[in-house]
């Protein structure tokens, strides 16, 4: 697989730098050919702080034709933009904030607004030539898509649904024996989709059926110009002939950081609207304990981390990412003694076996991104957590067992990058670079994890590596559960997650005023309040507003609060709140249940999501023959399925 690595924020940018480091030796920054990164991967840095981005010498402005480049998504919003005014006036969010709000829910809220507010969409379409979500579109079309195989799509809308069907079928089948190139071209062929691959909400972007490239050109101020900064500029236009294009996305972000992971789900959704099966993975670096270098309180960061993890892990398969590779910064800081450059380098080294392109000749197309996606998601409805365990050592005969052991236990040079018990994993994916025996590796993993010694549960991907050393990266899928006491034990996944959930909850409890800012518009406050706290917050607000009927504004606010409360009470099933869900997560962890996070949460459209908890309950009740579904529940389920089918292109909305 060739991922397009998207670094988000400061952490993402620094780690991305290691991925994109030029393998060639430049002379005064000049190069005769393309920027050559490891295995030809491409990447872009997304950041919201222009000042931070400009300080980084490694990146240049993508808009100026530099590569590697950075994008500041808010820049797409023009100075006199109507949507800017609209959002500011109606929701109280500043779309062009120079440095992103470090509130964890900020980006989530902003993207939800664009998803849900029809009026805003209309304004956006008028202003951005048919694009109803300019920031997402900008990130995708300007920053990521040009480097992917999707940029090869002819985008002829007249191809019609038949080709879309073919596309879906062929993607689902993933015929074996294809080479990487064949796969890419196959995806390229089937990508003659019209925009029938719309989003699950049913919003049909008719304009998207037209040529996306034209839409790209519509963002005329953003069309790149060729520059003479040492590259031939072809990297800035990833659809240039003959380049190795990416067949997946790998987001790198810190969980709990400033810019955060808020981009990931919206961008992934946007990608899914074009290509439902396009693989997207996340490498999330969990914030360390204590106060970070920017002075952000641990509780705030943990809340941010939890929200980030929550959002990533609760988006259903087919709508969100295909896997979250978790790395604990606490372990990295301890291992590398706070040497940040070494940490960044280490993350890259650890991921090398995953992204290495040079397969053993006899395994064909083992590591292509669609195959990875399929195996990661096998048997799951929600994206998995993947814990990386890594080891590298000098080549020696019979070293497979040694490598596995060191990696899984993080001993003698091995690195287990997130606390967990390997025996809890339900699958293991082993990526090696070097000369190893598949059987020996599998046997060793079986010995240490208890997973069945077969290729269905322990998958080994062997790649050609550096001379003289063997490397191994083991991704343990969902290595937690079935142990009610685990959350108390140091070194377990449950314990670590439980800790940050707990701290996040405490922060929620203690810092309400920092979370729901006073100056926000009422509707936004209400949405946030109910998202975070639920009905209890409404009650609390109403109570505070008692006796303030004379104040017009407060009176109006009280009215809205009352309405919101009554809407809530009228719901048959209470929409989940963050507070509630986090409490449930803690309970699940205490009971040893999986997954840790279950229900997707939205801020502004909370009623539209079918609760996964409810699904589980219903499934259980059905199995037990205990209860029947309500009409509403049936309607919701049917609608949800129809949405899925529309999203998959199986049917088309009239």
């Amino acid at each position: 697989m060739i991922p397009c690595v998207v670094g988000i924020g400061g952490c993402g940018g620094k780690v991305l730098k290691e991925f994109l480091r030029n393998q060639d030796v430049t002379i005064r920054g000049k190069s005769l050919g393309e920027h050559l990164s490891f295995c030809g991967i491409k990447g872009v840095w997304l950041d919201s702080a222009t000042m931070d981005a400009q300080k980084e010498n490694f990146y240049g402005r993508l808009e100026d034709g530099s590569y590697p480049g950075y994008l500041i998504p808010p820049e797409v919003i023009k100075d006199n933009s109507k949507i800017f005014d609209y959002v500011a006036d109606n929701y109280g969010y500043d779309l062009k904030s120079a440095g992103f709000d470090r509130r964890a829910e900020y980006l989530k809220a902003v993207f939800e607004i664009f998803e849900t507010d029809e009026k805003l969409k209309d304004i956006a379409r008028d202003e951005y030539q048919g694009e109803d979500n300019p920031i997402q579109a900008y990130i995708w079309k300007r920053g990521i898509r040009p480097y992917t195989i999707l940029s090869l799509v002819s985008n002829d809308a007249k191809e019609g649904a038949s080709s879309a069907l073919k596309a879906q079928r062929s993607l689902a089948e993933e015929p074996e024996g294809m080479t990487r190139g064949d796969e890419a071209s196959k995806i390229g062929e089937v990508e003659t989709l019209p925009s029938s691959s719309e989003k699950s909400e049913g919003a049909q972007s008719k304009v998207r059926a037209k040529n996306p490239l034209k839409m790209l050109e519509g963002l005329s101020s953003l069309v790149p110009k060729k520059t003479n900064n040492g590259t031939n500029g072809s990297n800035n236009n990833g659809s240039a002939q003959g380049l190795k294009l990416c067949d997946s996305i790998l987001f790198i972000a810190s969980l709990g950081g400033g810019t955060g992971t808020g981009f990931i789900n919206p961008v992934t959704s946007y990608v899914r609207s074009e290509q439902p099966n396009f693989p997207a993975f996340v490498l999330g670096v969990l914030t360390e304990k204590g106060t970070d270098d920017r002075g952000t309180h641990e509780g705030q960061r943990d809340l941010g981390a939890v929200i980030a993890m929550y959002d990533l892990l609760t988006k259903r398969v087919g709508r969100g990412v295909d896997g979250l590779i978790l790395v604990d910064n606490e372990i990295l800081l301890r291992t590398f003694e706070k040497n940040y450059p070494a940490i960044n380098r280490a993350i890259f080294d650890i991921m090398k076996p995953f992204i290495e392109l040079r397969n053993y000749p006899d395994v064909g197309n083992q590591g292509d991104s669609l195959a990875m996606k399929r195996v990661f998601l096998e048997g799951l409805k929600l994206p998995p957590v993947l814990v990386p365990c890594y080891c590298s050592q000098k080549r020696a005969e019979g070293s497979e067992g040694d490598l596995v052991k060191k990696a899984l236990y993080g001993q003698d040079g091995g690195l287990k990058l997130f606390d967990c018990d390997p025996k809890r994993a339900d699958m293991a994916y082993v990526f090696t670079r070097g000369f190893v025996h598949t059987d020996k590796v599998r046997r060793a993993v079986h010995d240490h994890t208890g997973l069945p010694d077969n290729e269905k549960r322990i998958m080994v991907y062997r790649k050609i590596g550096d001379h003289g050393s063997d490397e191994m990266l083991i991704l343990l899928r969902n290595p937690y559960g079935e142990d009610p006491e685990a959350y108390k034990k140091e070194g377990t996944f449950e314990n670590r997650v439980y800790g940050i959930v707990d701290k996040g909850l405490k922060y929620l409890d203690e810092k309400e005023n920092d979370i729901i800012l006073a100056g926000m518009p009422d509707d936004t406050k209400i949405a946030l309040g109910t998202y975070f706290y639920g009905e209890s917050w409404l009650d609390k607000m109403l109570k505070e507003l008692d006796g303030s009927e004379t104040n017009k504004r407060r009176k109006k606010f009280k009215k809205k609060l009352t309405k919101a409360k009554s809407d809530l009470e009228s719901e048959e099933v209470q929409p989940p709140t963050l507070l509630g869900e986090l409490e449930k997560s803690k309970s699940r962890l205490e009971m040893g249940n999986t997954p840790a996070f279950l229900d997707e949460l939205n801020i502004f459209t909370r009623d539209k999501v079918v609760s996964a908890t409810r699904e589980l309950d219903m499934a259980q009740a059905y199995n037990n023959g205990e209860s029947s579904l309500t009409e509403k529940e049936i309607r919701d389920i049917v609608k949800s399925e129809i949405d899925k089918m529309i999203a998959a292109g199986s049917i088309k909305e009239m």
Binding site: V25, T26, S31, D362, T438, D466, G468
Partner: protein
């Protein structure tokens, strides 16, 4: 055996041994791969997988370095009657008395080397070896080093017949030449030492 002949044998010996070691490296990898594979492995497929691009800058400079190496060898040994009284540049009257004789001689050597490089697909050879940036930079830096060797050889020709005072220049020319050969072949030698472990 004269010192010059010995020096020439050293240089060519290094090149030949390097070629042999490269072949051996490839064979060893192939053997290992065959032992680890469940199916038949074709060498072509293996080498296709094994190769990784090293970058345009590196390739361009490496190619330049090899061309300069061949010129440096030709200059060091055949510009003056160091090795052979009959076969040397100074015996080719039209060249030796021409103001562009030196560059013509070099151009002929460069042409032959270019043909050889294209036939042998030299960048492909380098693509089989993992090279840290420092090693790449070292290989690229052989370009000016070989320039020094060529300059020394040219100086020796301009003052020919040699005097005692030119011994240092001659030695410098050889050391830079030999060192460059060693650096250019270092990925092969490093790999050979690593694989044998």
């Amino acid at each position: 055996m004269s010192l010059d002949l010995l020096a020439m044998l050293l240089v060519f010996g290094l090149l030949i041994v390097g070629a042999g070691l490269h072949k051996r490296n490839m064979e060893r990898i192939y053997t290992k791969m065959v032992a680890l594979s469940s199916k038949d492995v074709s060498k072509k497929d293996l080498y296709e997988e094994l190769s990784a691009p090293q970058g345009s800058n590196f390739n361009a400079f490496a190619l330049t370095a090899w061309i300069l190496l061949s010129i440096a060898v030709a200059y060091f040994y055949f510009l003056t009657p160091r090795i052979s009284l009959e076969f040397n540049y100074l015996q080719i009257a039209p060249l030796a008395k021409s103001p562009i004789g030196l560059v013509t001689f070099a151009a002929v050597v460069a042409f032959v080397t270019t043909v050889a490089i294209v036939s042998l697909d030299l960048p492909k050879v380098y693509s089989f070896y993992e090279m840290p940036k420092r090693l790449k930079a070292a290989i690229m830096s052989t370009v000016p080093v070989l320039g020094v060797s060529i300059t020394c050889s040219t100086y020796m020709a301009t003052v020919y017949p040699p005097e005692f005072s030119t011994t240092f220049i001659s030695a410098l020319g050889f050391v830079t030449l030999f060192g460059s050969v060693a650096i250019l072949l270092s990925p092969i030698y490093i790999r050979a030492m690593g694989v044998t472990k």
